[in-house]
């Protein structure tokens, strides 16, 4: 089991950041790497158990299932059902915490998963930097004050 952890500070109130990321179908709106997304089975995007089916800009298709969503804790988690990444038992959590000093947001995004040992470091880098940090960087730009 590998754990990847990435965290950042976004210069916007937690409510504003949460408004962007709580929508499980909104990846194309705030990440730089998702081309299009839909929720399967016509479920609401904040219905626990719903599946988002999205296509990356590089063509890969990923299906992820919403496992938890907490407006109280600003936190959601999800698992990967299918992907071209070669990971199994992948569960990720995105969590926001208000930074009262400056009314900013501490954002954490982490994942645990299994994969072939030879691919561990490459996957850890791609997920930690290419997905999580890239997502934070684009939120920083989107929510710039």
């Amino acid at each position: 089991m590998i754990k990847v952890y990435t965290s950042s500070v976004i210069d916007a109130p937690a409510d504003a950041v949460w408004a962007q990321v709580r929508d499980f179908n909104a990846l194309p709106k705030w990440t730089p790497f998702v081309a299009e997304s839909r929720i399967e089975g016509n479920l609401a995007a904040d219905k626990i158990g719903c599946v988002r089916n999205f296509r990356l800009k590089d063509g890969g298709v990923i299906r992820e299932q919403l496992l938890t969503l907490s407006d109280y804790d600003y936190q959601c988690s999800y698992s990967i059902l299918e992907s071209p990444m070669g990971v199994t038992n992948y569960v990720a959590t995105l969590k926001l915490t208000p930074v009262t000093d400056g009314n900013r947001t501490f954002a954490e995004w982490w994942a645990e998963f299994d994969c072939e040992p030879a691919k561990e470091s490459e996957l850890a880098r791609n997920i930690g930097q290419g997905v999580f940090q890239a997502g934070f960087d684009s939120l920083k730009v989107l929510l710039r004050r």
Binding site: Y5, T6, S7, V9, T100, D101, R104, F106, E108
Partner: protein
Amino acid sequence: MIRVTRSAVIDAPIARVWEVLRDFNSHWAWHPAVGESKIENGEAPDQVGCVRNFFLKDGNHIREQLLALSDRDYVSTYCILDATLPMKHYVATVQLKHVTDGDRTFWHWQSTFDVPRGREQEFEALVGKGVYEGGFEGLRTFLRRGAVAAPAPVRSPASQLAQVVVATAFGGPDVLRYESVAVMAPGPNEVRIRQTAVGVNYIDVYVRKGLYRMIQPPAAIGMEAAGVVLDVGDGVAHLLAGDRVAYACPPPGAYATARTMPADQVVVLPDDVSDETAAAVMLKGMTAECLLHRTHRVRPGQALLVHAAAGGVGLLLCQWAKALGAKVIGTVSSEDKARLARENGCEFPLVTRDYRFAREVKNLTQGRGADVIYDGLGREAAAENLEALAFTGHWVSYGQASGPLDALPDLGAKSGTLSRPVLFHYTAERALLQEIAWNVFKALRSQTIRVELRHRYPLAAAAEAHRELEARRTTGSVVLLA
């Protein structure tokens, strides 16, 4: 029930922030609202269950107990036991998290508690602003202290020249030579320091003579110095370039204008301790701290015999022991030194140049003898020390200026205890080193101990400084300026 939450981002690696916050008694050093503080019953400040007993600078008095500590999760939880403030059921948690983006630290501080009805807002502000937000700013300042001139993250040159005092052989002061030596860039877990003041200690004489086989000549000597961090190697989290720092530890090599050394024994200096003071007090002050609080825990009313009471460690022992309420008897080699010892808390300085003192010690203690003997003399004073020791007394042999003790003294004659403390064993763990060093800085701040620096020499005159020290012509601390 009120809940108060404050959080902030500290621009420092999490290990550096946690090193400070995990110490339950560090708050006096960084929190602007906290005054005098101590851990009750001499417990370690990372002992779960320990109680910190402190005053706020506004005069309020608080006792807080550490309930949980996790180095894995960077969490510390504590509660108020008693306070002169009307707060009940106060439980607070400090949690740090790593901000991977920029290697910074997120600090979350939260508490719940009850106050009298109608005073909720007042206490929300007191705790949230006064304690938590004030604490964030205080810790930022604390971590920045001395780092004003921090050079930009430009790497210093790989190696640079320094002036170093080298023992070219084992022997007298004449074996010391002043030479140029290349100082390498720091490797993993190392730090390179530009040194400004170097402490001279008797151990340097032992090393130079070869009594303590800590070097193989030609090699630099010296155990203690202060200066500014030039750069750090990989894996060093508690120091930054530009930090004012000091140390007192092996390996020898402190007599230098710059050096590269293991980082774990280097501590950051508070603003109110100058480089000269630090170089004068790190080794001797930490020695005194350990001798009086750890080797033996001195209690009020105990009779102490402090040899070389006007020497570097001796003066500090006298000052600190007096503040602890002990009765301090000292030995010195001249009337001038007796006067100096008396001014520094030694109630009964005995002038002797032939190691005869037992009879007078007994006279001064109604025949009982000394409860504790702090012995830096060794062989020549051994018989008199045994004679001067009270029944069940504690003989602390921490130096051997007149030669090593030949054999184990006949402790059975007194049911005595003999200790042979070596400072570097007490400070081997970083957390303890930090605690001991901070206790010294705290004692300086409260003027429990004072450093009177009468002997300053240029680094190049190290041999002369050794001659004076060995001729017993110095009092207090001797410092070389680099």
